[in-house]
Symmetry: C2
């Protein structure tokens, strides 16, 4: 149902402007890099006449970036929540199923975004930016489904080396984030045709699951 | 031997200023992020009175960054060249030895840099910056020792899936770059004491070798 003119209240308008700023920021950051995009360029490219539009809606650049990250984390959570629930109900959890539950929701989210998308390259930059790094990591780890997954990780009931466990988690995160950014860049740059997008994402998902299974088994022992 | 006043020719002075600018840029970028550091801030922090010092010595920001990257790539090459030569002379090459030859030179370079260092966090940002990404990757791959390693990769004489081979190489690169940046941040932030630095770097090296062996075997089959 399309919104009629009467529906466009000031708060709808404000939500739309916010939305437009978030999409524009994500695209500009992905294409040109955090360093080459100013708050003002984002406002202008989003068609905002007010030069302080970003400040008005988000206060600071970091809050704008955090709002974008949170929106994506919520979308990914909608994929992961049912998968984590199913895993919890399935009795014995294999390492491969567990890792699939970490990776597939983010792959599905990328497919849902269509081509071109910008989230992958945006996220890869956010995660290496000193002021944002910790926020990005926590935005994903503090979701209910991730906390649920923590409890299910195989092999269960085994004391693992906490340093190796942390390194294993960091490697998993880095591979998902940076491999997704690379595939997204290949799709956006036309090096992989858009018609191949969905298949390429799923193939990347499979490759990541296999790779991270191998990596985790080598580091922590297999389930 | 200390330089006497007579040694300080204009070209020595220029080389020193260049050097100072490179070190300062690396530190500021690592600590504050590419987006939060201007060319002018670098000149000022490096004690250059001329406001166009960076432009004078490097023309553009990207050329400054490339000069820093090249210097590190050369230092790493000094570690890798003898290792690659030894590997070449050793007959049968195991996957683990081969991967060690990819990883250890960069770990040794980090140890050599001391604590705190900035290169790891600097590199992690450069590799996700759209305008620099390709340069960074090539700066390492086009070194003589890397080209030599390419020829030695086990299992030899086997046709591998080119897509999986490329993904495997990308994952290896991402893990080295981003895990090193994280350890460097932990050391710089005092979360790991400086006295533990060397041991921590070597342990990270071992962890990476084990993880990447597991990952590569899972993706491409073991040697």
């Amino acid at each position: 149902m399309k919104a009629s003119a009467a529906d466009v209240t000031p708060s709808t308008r404000s939500a739309r402007a916010r939305d437009k700023l978030m999409h524009t920021a994500e695209r500009l950051y992905a294409e040109h890099g955090f360093a080459n995009v100013s708050i003002r360029m984002i406002g202008e490219a989003a068609g905002q006449r007010n030069k302080s539009a970003v400040q008005y809606h988000f206060s600071t650049r970091d809050e704008l970036i955090q709002a974008i990250l949170t929106r994506h984390a919520e979308a990914i959570e909608r994929h992961r929540a049912p998968m984590a629930a199913a895993l919890e109900g399935s009795g014995e959890v294999s390492l491969r199923d567990w890792i699939a539950c970490v990776i597939v929701p983010s792959i599905e989210h990328h497919i849902e975004l269509g081509t071109p998308s910008w989230y992958g390259r945006f996220l890869a930059q956010a995660v290496v930016e000193p002021s944002l790094r910790e926020y990005v990591i926590q935005a994903h780890l503090r979701t209910p489904s991730f906390r649920r997954l923590e409890q299910l990780r195989p092999p269960r009931g085994q004391d693992r080396d906490p340093e190796l466990t942390a390194r294993n988690a960091a490697m998993t995160r880095q591979l998902i984030v940076h491999m997704s950014a690379e595939l997204e860049a290949d799709l956006a740059g036309g090096r992989i045709p858009a018609a191949e997008a969905e298949r390429s994402w799923r193939r990347l998902g499979e490759t990541l699951i296999t790779a991270i299974c191998g990596l985790s088994s080598a580091l922590l022992g297999s389930a």
